[in-house]
Symmetry: C2
Subunit: 148 residues, 2 copies
């Protein structure tokens, strides 16, 4: 039952990727983005609420309203999104569930896991929403551009 992040986080990433790939101003609406990303709207709205309260999104009510990213998509890493949804400490838990696992009392897997985790987090940190949006858009344009 491996999970990098929760369903809510997966939806957030998919929705925000779509949002970042839109032309025009950055504002997007929950309903629209959920339909396009093919994710459950009611549930994803809850995630948006949380992201708004966390200062990650700005909500605008009323006609013409929607959400805006607090930072431009090229300044938002996947790790940012994941930690915003899951909390800052998602990757902190000991894999073997040892309560006092740490520098002084490492569990048998501590070093192995720390290394793998560092590599994983480094990858998540250097990819941004803009990257994801670009590759999605490029794919839709039949990918005749080779470079990144």
């Amino acid at each position: 039952m491996f999970k990098l992040y929760s369903k809510g986080c997966e939806y957030a990433l998919r929705a925000l990727t779509y949002a970042a790939s839109r032309s025009g101003n950055g504002r997007f609406q929950a309903k629209d983005v959920c339909e396009k990303a093919d994710i459950p709207e009611s549930f994803t709205r809850k995630v948006f609420q949380a992201l708004t309260q966390g200062g990650f999104l700005q909500a605008v009510r009323g006609p013409g309203g929607g959400y805006e990213l607090s930072r431009p998509p090229e300044k938002i890493s996947l790790l940012d999104v994941i930690e915003a949804v899951e909390g800052q400490d998602t990757f902190e838990h000991c894999v073997l569930g040892f309560p006092e696992c740490g520098g002084k009392h490492p569990c048998p897997l501590h070093e192995t896991w720390s290394k793998a985790k560092r590599q994983l987090m480094a990858q998540l940190e250097h990819r941004t929403l803009q990257d994801l949006a670009d590759s999605t858009t490029r794919k839709k344009r039949r990918a005749y551009i080779s470079g990144g």
Copy 2:
């Protein structure tokens, strides 16, 4: 909500690590091992049942009975245990939940994730139950041996 594996798998790893660190023959009892590893017995028994049905453990009933590993602990990698408990396809799912994510239609995170996954699985594959048992035992002996 990051999870490398389920609670059941965590318990299996902890229990089997303790089992591998026992001196004498390889047989161990569910009750004993769960107490020593400080994990819930009833729940872990279910995991043992599954591992037995999967051919991973051999069950011996009656007085003096218990379980035996089907292979010596130095021949069982952590990946073996994880896949035995979680199923062969735990690490196969697309991180973004795209149903047709694969070689021909990769999701935007496919390459990033594949790389991180390979590194992670390589680490889990080359560490065995015996390794874990050794480091646990060494720790208990106050770790005056430096090498690995």
